[in-house]
């Protein structure tokens, strides 16, 4: 997490602490807030019931944007707390939680940058509805850049 991100998160926490509900549902709403502000639930050791486990893999040079790590086992929460995690919500989750640098090399508007190939369970995502694809527990999503090298 970058410095600015940390400061914003810290500011959020402080603000939320100040306006925290003084009642029994305090813990629940605080938890909710923590998940929604830049923290990765997994990092905090909290796993919500509706978190979804996914295997993400970045290749073709994209791994450089993710700390040179190709494979990532993640617990993803839909940003809008919808029941379903779609490819669109996964992309925004990655942008907010996983990517380390130059997000513009990975996403453009609400989709991947043209030239980034996506495979869901080893199939081209163009076969299953691209952004609207609904992901399931333990799905494997692979992103490969075609933009590097010749």
């Amino acid at each position: 997490m970058n410095k600015l991100g940390f400061r914003l998160t810290a500011q959020w926490c402080l603000l939320l602490w100040l306006i925290r509900p003084r009642s029994s549902d305090y813990r629940i709403s605080f938890h909710f807030i923590v998940v929604r502000s830049n923290f990765r639930a997994a990092r905090l050791g909290v796993r919500r019931a509706d978190d979804m486990h996914l295997t993400l893999e970045f290749g073709g040079g994209l791994e450089l944007l993710f700390g040179s790590q190709k494979k990532h086992e993640v617990e993803v929460t839909s940003p809008d707390d919808l029941k379903e995690v779609t490819m669109e919500s996964l992309l925004s989750w990655i942008k907010d939680n996983l990517i380390k640098e130059r997000p513009e090399m990975f996403v453009k508007e609400s989709s991947v940058r043209p030239g980034v190939l996506v495979l869901i369970n080893d199939s081209d995502w163009e076969l299953c509805g691209r952004l609207e694809t609904v992901l399931e527990e333990n799905d494997e999503v692979i992103f490969i850049s075609t933009l590097h090298g010749g």
Partner: protein, 348 residues
Amino acid sequence: MVRHCELCKAKRAALVRPRNRQQVCKDCFYTAFEEEIHQTIVDNKLFNRGDRVAVAASGGKDSTVLAHVLTLLNKRHDYGLDLFLLSIDEGIAGYRDDSLETVKRNETQYGIPLEVVSYKTLYNWTMDEIVKEIGLKNNCTFCGVFRRQALDRGAAKMKAVKMATGHNADDVAETILLNIVRGDIARLARCTSIITGEEGALPRCKPFKYTYEKEIVMYAYFKKLDYFSTECTYSPNAYRGFAREFIKDLEAIRPQAILDIISSGERFRIDSTAKMPEQGLCERCGYISSQKWCKACVLLDGLNRGLPKLGITRTRGKGLANGVENASGGGKLASKDDRSPSKANIDF
């Protein structure tokens, strides 16, 4: 929601082919991909039986798939080609070292010999040394000019009669657009041909001219081919210009657009009265050049005399040759030796 392959109707579809939106399984994709390249090679008579062919290998996706497909087709269709991998060592520590390791693995994987030619032996400069001298501006100009010539010299040294490069359909479409935007008629006419450089230089061919980049990457991924995709240390963001961005945006809307651009490029008829630069030979090293000295010699001369900006400034027509003359005339370090064909730096 499992979709079946449109060709064999049996297996699970694995990808959508950009050229026709066909949904195909892995096996049908491999066959179609390989046989289309075979058709391109046959239809355009890219090779003759017995040809010794240098496969320009950088360790990247395109050249890795090219080496794989050419060795495979050479066996399957009995082309009778004598293939070898040709790599350039630019002398970039940590970048080229690693990609050369990939090419060395390819050597054993595909069972064809590898020849590495280095900037250091050819020019007596590594890219690391050049960057130390000129900084991070224009370093890609040096690298590009040097690499092109280094490939030709390496191939000549190995007695190759042809060179195959991994340029794909996306690359060709991008080059066509760039040449239109720049108004470079001579290059526009040349960049669409599948074989170039027959007049004088070693012929270069592009077996992937009609092959989508997406399919090359998918093929490499499904076949688990070993390729290298790290960005060059000196130009981490250089791999995408506006033209590439535009091509990729077009492809996202309508993939066929890429082949359409190539087809349009091929149909351009250049006015026969248009003045084309004449191809001669470099007075210094004998490499083909439309100027008195070839671009590599101009750049090298500047480097050796501590005037690395020489040859960088955009010049048109005779400007470059004049620039060189003036510079060597006025430069105190210029001696007769500098102008005579150099044996010290370029030794092939």
